[in-house]
Amino acid sequence: MSAHHPPVTDWATDFDHTDATWVGDPYPIWEALRTTCPVARSERYGGTWLPVTHENVAAVAYDTEHFTSRSVVVSEVRPGPEDLPAPIGVAPPITSDPPFHALARRLLLPPFAPKKVEALEAFTRELCNELLDEMAGRNPLDAALDYAQHIPVRVIVKMLGFPQDDAPFFRRFIHFVLEEVDMPAEQRIELGAEFDAYINARIDEHIAHPRDDLTSYLLDVELDGNKLSREHVQGTMVLLLVAGIDTTWSAIGASLWHLARNPADRRRMVDEPGIWGTAIEELLRAYAPVTMARLVAQDFEFEGCPMKEGDWVLLPFPAANRDPDFFPKADEVVLDRAENRHAAFGLGIHRCLGSNLARMELRVALEEWMKRYPEFELVDPATVTWSAGQVRGPRSIPVRIL
């Protein structure tokens, strides 16, 4: 919930993605805007635009000339002179633009390619079962707090070679980065410094004792014959932690929330194992967690809107995924939807680097949950809480096992 901004009364001219109405249920807002104002404008955060159709979201995602990725989280802090300038940005490659982007991304693609991710499936399955064992015998329980929130953080922490016990620290930091976007700038910068100190300590430790993990890989890998700068390594590690945790936690949680409310879909998941391939993609489409952002790189007109250099642009892939002009029955979850070009992982050159990992984690988390608890329902729909900001997912899902 927005602690620092006044409530929104007009979504076409004054939207705010931390407003309680948006946090609770953003889909009706986007639906109304699609027909009345497909590119909305708000003066908040120093000036922000919001395209809501699949066509316009795609157009922004593909246009790396007019829209820079130098910052991808809308907040009261724009990248300043102390931050790495474009084209690298503070967390390469997500904050990088062409042509540097392709180089930075290429380094990171191999550890996240499908066949590399397959090797992490056994660890993930074991972790899910460990969590389910810890929950055993309790009823009701919380599908988000007891289960979903622990899975992605522990997988990425394992990949980076950080202590598993530090997982709660990451979750806290990421909550500040992604959700407390309307907090005053000084406080935000202070928290960033604390996290930087932690990451620096992990880097030092890996320089002293290299091992077979993603941190040592980043310290060792070469770009144009040179090792990466410490800032590049640090930025990439922050990216992997921030991007790899809240997002997938949200997708797992939203899927369990959907299944808790839809007994017919629950039964189909159990009775029709062949449906899982399309079902996972459909859950990703319907409950895509991630809204990205861009900064306008130069003054220009987009869809009749006078965009100014430095304006924010929210890039709501979840809205694109619910556009009825692009998806028939866009607001319905159709588990066997055959044609599904969803944009849950973005579009264009910034396609989510961890998409293969996220998809594996989502599938395994649901498989193991459904094996253990094929029948469950919400204790009370009103007690489910949702995250604020650009990553949308349920943060508490009290469920009763039936």
Partner: protein, 66 residues
Amino acid sequence: MRVHVDPDKCQGHNRCYALAPELFDVDDLGNAHELNDGLVPADLQAKARLAAANCPEYAIGVEEDS
């Protein structure tokens, strides 16, 4: 029937490889390419169309037999 992945459009979403591993493979970076010069056996034509219809980037071309 033939399928072809446009390498300039493919962004490695991995949807084709997941849906039709008989027809597509992915490289070490996760980018897709067609197998067997893109030739699609008769019994896999539906899968080929499905893979194309799930590519978010419209990177897969399907050439139907004339």
